[in-house]
């Protein structure tokens, strides 16, 4: 089975600091591959390189059979790579529905249409409504994003990522800042997505990781020190020393 996403010996340096140190990583279609690691390990740097916001110094990234190492951020999105951010990147001036409609619009052909009202286009409305319903925001569609709660922003963030019909989701701490109840709802939601998309999940919430992940990679100081099933990782002594040691209660 060929990988949906594969990274080969990726390196990223910032001056004297090696933030990504010869990382190998792969995600099969429909697989949830989680990345865990202590703060400062370089998880967000890695996600940024996958998304195209940062360019690696060495190594390559292959997605869906293509080398995307030099592809721009919009190009990767159009190829089927969807990303959600740790700090919600939404359009505060628009309603939830308009937010998601924009996402749909990005993948619905070009936008050099100057007269037709975009907000009445069925081709944009229907998929947007569907995505919002899927994440549980069906009754909040016309609320301005700025007026929504933090947890709702995370749901909106996910809806926008789903609305572009991606093949792979890059989820950077989707549960960041959520309450226990909200996190559990999000985990249920993500469970429902399993199998349909390849998912790279960066998370600190260990309950979520062990509930969702098929495979887990542990990133410490820019290097992957272990990669395996959740159980293998849970029992790996190196991982316990480097990371899970402080997280005993969470496991």
């Amino acid at each position: 089975m060929s990988a949906l996403l594969s990274i080969d010996k990726l390196v990223k340096r910032f001056g004297g600091l090696t933030a990504t140190d010869h990382v190998d990583f792969a995600v099969a279609p429909g697989e949830v591959h989680a990345i865990i690691g202590p703060n400062g390990a370089g998880k967000t740097t890695l996600i940024s390189q996958l998304a195209g916001e940062l360019h690696p110094d060495e190594g390559s990234i292959h997605f869906d059979g293509r080398d995307i190492s030099r592809a721009t951020v919009p190009e990767r999105s159009l190829l089927g790579l969807g990303r959600s951010y740790q700090i919600s990147q939404i359009f505060r001036d628009f309603t939830a529905l308009q937010n998601v409609m924009l996402a749909v619009q990005a993948h619905a052909g070009h936008s050099f249409s100057f007269f037709r009202p975009a907000l009445r286009e069925a081709a944009l409305l229907e998929p947007a409504r569907a995505a919002l319903t899927q994440v549980g925001l069906a009754n909040r569609m016309h609320v301005p994003a700025a007026a929504m709660a933090h947890g709702e922003h995370r749901q909106l963030e996910l809806a926008m990522t789903l609305a572009i019909s991606p093949k792979l989701l890059l989820l950077d701490e989707p549960m960041a800042g959520m309450s226990q109840a909200e996190s559990e709802e999000m985990v249920q939601l993500l469970k429902g997505l399993k199998g349909q998309y390849g998912i790279v999940l960066v998370e600190h919430d260990m309950d979520a990781v062990f509930a969702l992940a098929d495979r887990v990679s542990v990133l410490v100081y820019g290097r992957i020190i272990a990669c395996g099933t959740p159980d293998e990782i849970r029992n790996n002594p190196d991982v316990k020393d480097a990371y899970l040691g402080d997280q005993e209660e969470a496991v």
Partner: protein, 337 residues
């Protein structure tokens, strides 16, 4: 917002009242025996048009261009230079102006849109200054002194040398551009511009190649200024480098913000207010406090400057913008309940 026009909304009745008022002004001017009003408001509408154009990218795109007066110059000098060489057909003037406008705006836009933030502001200012010096160096076309135009553009079907006809031509264009923009803002293209202003990083991540949309927006807004320049040259029968100085670019931004840059019609309101106050202060002369009035007449710019500073520190949404925002809050409350 995606519902049918709400007749009681300020978004409707303010533009309607203002445009109606402008349409009736020449009648009032004739009745009051003050033909000067037609000239004054022709000039006001020209700047309203330019400010409206600028605001497409300023208010809706989040791009602070401090160099849009350059395009006023392009429009004015297209008329001036062609007239100088004996070409008097206004449609040729217009075609040349818009053609040069597209080329210039595309070239400059391609360079400046690679930058952002304060750098963008600074280099738009720099390129407008470049245009100013370029025109000044053209001694054959008047250089620093400007270029006199013997006759207004001949439009064949109508006669611009009649002040009232020119007035209505400008009004029709102002109303027309405003109406076109109302559609543009709600179109796919408009949504992309607004999305870029709101969160460009997210737009890129969604898959929009934002550069090309910003460039097209920049060119469209420049073309509206070129059109305004065409009218300006016709109104004054003069093309001058002074149309392109940095203060004019700054004035356009002030007008947009004064009226409310988050709205389409705001810049028109802002332009009317700004230029009426300017006219009032610089010709104030009832004779009550002659010394003060004299100072005001000569140094009214200082008051405008103070006013701009206070505006920035105080009411940033602009007058019309404030009205619209109040309506917006009402709608939001309704949607939430």
């Amino acid at each position: 917002m995606d519902k049918a026009t709400n007749w009681s909304s300020p978004r409707f009745y303010v533009p309607a009242i203002v445009l109606l008022g402008l349409a009736l002004l020449p009648v009032y001017s004739m009745v009051a025996g003050q033909p000067f009003y037609v000239t004054l408001f022709s000039r006001i509408m020209i700047f309203a048009l330019a400010a409206l154009g600028l605001n497409l990218i300023l208010g809706y795109g989040g791009l602070v261009s401090f160099g849009h007066a350059l395009y006023l110059g392009v429009g004015a000098y297209a008329v001036g230079i062609l007239s100088f060489h004996g070409i008097t057909n206004g449609w040729v003037h217009l075609a040349a102006a818009l053609g040069i406008g597209i080329v210039t705006a595309s070239l400059i836009g391609t360079i400046v849109l690679r930058t952002s933030g304060m750098t963008f502001i600074m280099i738009t200012l720099a390129f407008a200054q470049m245009g100013y010096f370029f025109v000044v160096s053209l001694k054959a076309y008047g250089g620093d002194d400007g270029l006199t135009i013997d006759n207004r553009s001949s439009m064949v079907l109508f006669d611009l040398s009649n002040h009232t006809v020119l007035y209505y031509a400008i009004l029709v264009c102002l109303a027309g551009v405003f109406l076109v923009f109302t559609r543009l803002i709600g179109s796919r293209f408009g949504m992309v511009l607004r999305g870029v202003k709101s969160n460009e990083r997210r737009m890129l991540a969604l898959g929009f190649p934002t550069f090309r949309y910003k460039l097209v927006g920049y060119v469209i807004s420049a073309q509206v200024c070129v059109l305004a320049g065409f009218f300006l040259a016709n109104l004054t029968k003069f093309a001058s480098p002074s149309y392109m100085v940095w203060q004019v670019s700054g004035d356009l931004i002030v007008m947009a913000v004064l009226g409310g840059m988050g709205t389409l019609f705001g810049p028109v309101i802002g332009a009317i207010l700004y230029l009426v106050v300017e006219e009032f202060l610089s010709s104030l002369n009832p004779g009550w406090f002659p010394k003060v009035e004299d100072v005001l007449n000569k140094h009214w710019l200082a008051l405008m400057g103070l006013f701009v500073i206070l505006m920035v520190l105080g009411f940033r949404k602009g007058l019309y913008g404030y009205l619209v925002e109040r309506e917006q809050k009402k709608l939001e409350k309704r949607a939430q309940s």
